[in-house]
């Protein structure tokens, strides 16, 4: 007996502030005008996607002491643009990345509860942590958090936000115009939290929102991050979109759930995935190669090498060979305000390996960066991409994907028109929204139902 087909979850990541976004394409539009966000969100909703996803960065990236100017720079405020998108969509989930270091629980809980009300239950929060003093320079509270405390603070931040969401049960508002009682209970919203990072008490002033709490995403990849997700997230925004890596991650994270009394279907694994669609597989491969060259200009290639070398390499020719000089093994000082820096844990070994590969293939610096980085996850005809996505999900490499187009705002249009119908034909993707809230789309229970379930058992 074969197991029933899994239903695929799909989401759309607004093309962001990194070099996968091709701003030089003639079709590339504004990254800041609302019309771009509206177009992108409407496409995602037309395709019956689960949600739209926004990343966040709270300080412009710098390299070599200057603002990094080769990628898209600038983005809107996450909450504000999501609230506006709620006006131009009806079903699409609205997921915002919000930092737990440079915010306070009372304020963030108010904003998410408000967004959930204003979208009739479509809000989700990707909880991220940051600790760097560099970003902290933009905030009155500063960058005070030692790296080892970031999960401890994030956990307590999230737990505190949940206490605030739960401080209203949902039945407090009577609004009895004849009798004169607006509230059933004068203590509605009362909370007390005394912890290591937060010591707050009082009344939360947003009544319970349609989803009870926003859907919680987590994106960290460390052991601690995975444990955090297993204990308290509804979904993981992961970076393992290949079959083998995806399956390993999926197995690892889902096996951690039992420890917290949770079932495998209570935590969704949704990797970010890029794609290039063509009429044929061969055409798609060709377009994909062009896109990678657009993503990695000569200047971008030099800057990318600087992350690893931790040195100013501006005198090198991107079309020439790799530097003979070794990376600076000292503390990283070249690039600030970006996450990739952490990805090269042994720069000397990386440099050695890259030199060998470049020499063996006769690659220039730019060739090397193109070949070693950012190959798109799904490249092919609509049929190929639909089949691959379905295969991966049925093989438990993920529960779906958060698609990252490389063009704003139209980069999702062809996927919506050509790939989604094939997934629908396969019976693995919805043809209509069945529920109204993001929890409905993701098959997640309302927190009150979970509470009732636990109380009954």
């Amino acid at each position: 007996m074969s197991k029933p087909l899994k239903q695929i979850h799909l989401a759309a990541h607004f093309p962001g502030v990194n070099n996968t976004t091709v701003w030089s394409d003639p079709r590339a539009g504004s990254h800041i005008e609302f019309s771009s966000f509206a177009h992108f969100a409407r496409t995602a909703e037309r395709a019956k996607f689960d949600f739209l996803f926004l990343a966040e960065g709270l300080r412009l990236r710098e390299q070599g002491g200057r603002i990094y100017d080769l990628d898209v720079v600038g983005r809107p405020d996450t909450f504000t643009v999501l609230a506006a998108l709620a006006a131009v969509t009806e079903h699409l989930g609205l997921t915002g990345t919000i930092n737990s270091t440079f915010n306070e629980p009372y304020e963030v809980a108010r904003q998410f509860a408000s967004l959930d009300h204003l979208s009739d239950g479509r809000a989700a929060w990707n909880v991220v942590t940051s600790w760097d003093a560099f970003t902290g320079e933009n905030f009155r509270r500063g960058g005070f958090l030692p790296q080892e405390e970031r999960y401890s603070r994030a956990k307590e931040f999230l737990a505190t936000a949940h206490e605030l969401f739960d401080s209203w049960q949902g039945d407090e508002i009577l609004a009895d115009q004849a009798g004169g009682a607006f509230l059933r209970d004068a203590k509605a919203g009362a909370f007390v939290h005394e912890g290591r990072h937060f010591d707050i008490h009082g009344r939360f002033n947003v009544p319970r929102s349609p989803q009870g709490r926003p859907v919680i995403f987590q994106a960290g990849d460390s052991d601690e991050g995975r444990e955090f997700a297993a204990s308290s997230a509804d979904a993981i925004f992961s970076r393992y979109a290949t079959l083998d890596e995806g399956r390993a991650f999926y197995t690892d994270v889902k096996s951690r759930l039992a420890r917290y009394g949770r079932r495998a279907d209570q935590l969704l694994i949704l990797p970010a995935a890029s794609f290039v669609l063509g009429d044929t597989d061969a055409e798609a491969e060709e377009i994909a190669r062009d896109v990678r060259r657009q993503q990695v200009s000569g200047a971008t290639a030099i800057k990318h090498l600087e992350f690893v070398w931790n040195r100013d390499l501006s005198s090198y020719d991107p079309d020439g060979p790799l530097p003979d000089i070794d990376p600076d093994p000292g503390e990283h000082h070249i690039a600030r305000g970006r996450a990739q820096v952490r990805m090269y844990r042994d720069p000397l070994a990386t440099a050695r390996e890259w030199r060998e590969r470049a020499a063996a293939n006769n690659w220039s610096i730019r060739d090397l960066v193109i070949e070693t980085g950012n190959r798109q996850n799904f490249v092919g005809s609509a049929e190929t991409i639909a089949e691959t996505i379905d295969t991966y999900v049925q093989a438990d490499a993920s529960d779906g994907f958060i698609l990252v187009p490389h063009i704003t705002p139209g980069g999702l249009d062809a996927f919506a028109d050509r790939v989604v119908p094939l997934l629908q034909e396969r019976g693995v993707f919805r043809t209509e929204y069945e529920g109204t809230t993001l929890r409905d789309h993701l098959g997640l229970a309302h927190p009150d139902d979970v509470r009732d379930e636990r109380a009954a058992s």
């Binding site: 720079v73 600038g74 909450f79 204003l118 905030f139 607006f182 919203g189 971008t300």
Partner: protein, 396 residues
């Protein structure tokens, strides 16, 4: 007595729950069950836009509403709870075309970096119709919601503690404004030849260092469509008048008669001069709570009825007007002659008094050539006769 030619006045409406009278939610038109839905707010703002009003403000706070001066109350007979005002404004922005959207933001416990990009984004979402009403809080319970500091207990607003909170608010506004300017308008160049998306010489660290905090910049959000969205504040005394004079585009004030109006306007203008801003346009709007009916007796009866439901007489920092649209038009023109450039009307019952403003007062003022007959600009600055300001960081 000098006669002045009729000059158009500006009209704003202050939205707060079901209206400013604490018993307003009990009126049949109030729809109190819908207060926490987008549709409720979209309906009110659409009505205000139907009346060609300059802007709506939306009240907010970092704690539940209270009938007490400083502390929370335990009342269950009044509306408690509200949604974030910036997000309400953003939610209705795509549904409207011309009206200005001015949410309240508390600046005492919040980050200027976040507020700056939120209002800049509201300006993008509304294509140039955003502003903000900045507000301080001295409430101990709201400080306890953040747990980062305690604020000394005050007995009234004329204390050094409050002066210090306004000083902090001025720094907050300064940072918000610098961040709006931290990108020059033409910073995005998309130069495929050099591979540069921006000209980074046109992005600026703001390097703000004040007594209360420091902020580096630049913003993560490019300069908004209006350049500088509107900064507005409610003011009742010299310290806040000074904030208005130094940092705001609109001050909302609460004179109860024309003599008071004249005195307040003179004080603000004097502060403006000593701040070196005498040449900058600064609107001073009078705040009024309004009970409007075609029959003056009915307006008074409605007020009495609501007071009875509330169990006490309604009082306000602002003058409370009870009467007909024509009587209100007379009063506004009288106040205008004392130097006010517009008014922020607080409908006692949103569902009743807002339509009375848009369908009663506005036509009356139009008959007197004292109010616009169509929107004449597509940005809020434009509606208020304010030009798009030069960027403080741009090389001349």
């Amino acid at each position: 007595m000098s006669s002045t030619p009729v000059s158009p006045l500006h009209l704003a409406v202050a939205l707060d729950g079901t209206g400013w009278h604490p018993a307003s939610w009990r009126e049949p038109v109030a729809r109190p069950r819908e207060l926490f839905t987008a549709g409720y707010w979209a309906g009110l703002v659409a009505e205000a836009e139907h009346g060609l009003l300059d802007l709506v403000t939306i009240e907010d706070g970092l704690g539940p509403q209270s009938s007490h001066f400083l502390d929370p109350d335990d009342r269950t007979d009044q509306v408690r709870g509200r949604l974030d005002a910036v997000l309400i404004a953003s939610r209705v922005a795509p549904l409207t075309r011309n009206i200005g959207l001015v949410p309240t933001a508390v600046v005492t416990h919040t980050e200027p970096f976040h507020l700056s990009k939120a209002i800049a984004t509201l300006d993008y979402v509304s294509t140039g119709r955003a502003g903000v009403r900045v507000q301080i809080t001295a409430r101990p319970n709201e400080a306890a919601h953040f747990g980062r500091r305690t604020i000394a207990r005050i007995e009234h607003y004329e204390t050094p503690v409050v002066a210090d909170l306004f000083d902090e608010a001025a720094d907050h506004v300064e940072v918000v404004r610098r961040l709006w300017d931290s990108w020059e308008d033409d910073a995005e160049i998309r130069d495929a030849g050099t591979g540069r998306f921006i000209d980074r010489d046109k992005l600026h660290h703001i390097d703000f260092e004040g007594r209360h905090f420091r902020v580096k910049g630049p913003s993560i959000t490019p300069r908004p469509p209006q350049g500088q969205p509107l900064v507005t504040a409610l003011a009742h005394a010299t310290v806040p008048y000074r904030l208005v004079a130094r940092a705001a585009d609109i001050g909302y004030v609460t004179p109860h008669d024309t003599d008071q109006a004249r005195a307040i306007v003179a004080e603000i203008r004097a502060e403006q001069e000593s701040a070196g801003r005498a040449a900058d346009p600064l609107h001073v709007f009078g705040d009024l709570v309004v009970f409007l009916d075609d029959d003056p007796g009915e307006a008074a009866a409605r007020r009495d009825r609501l007071d009875t439901l509330a169990g006490e007489e309604y009082t306000s920092d602002a003058r409370i007007f009870t009467g007909t649209p024509a009587q209100l038009a007379d009063l506004l023109q009288e106040f205008q002659s004392a130097g006010l450039t517009g008014f922020r009307l607080r409908p006692a019952v949103a569902g009743h008094d807002l339509p009375a403003i848009t369908r009663g007062l506005v036509p009356e003022l139009q008959r007197r050539d004292a109010f616009r007959r169509a929107y004449e600009a597509d940005t809020l600055r434009g509606l208020l006769g304010l030009s798009r300001p030069a960027n403080r960081y741009a090389a001349v």
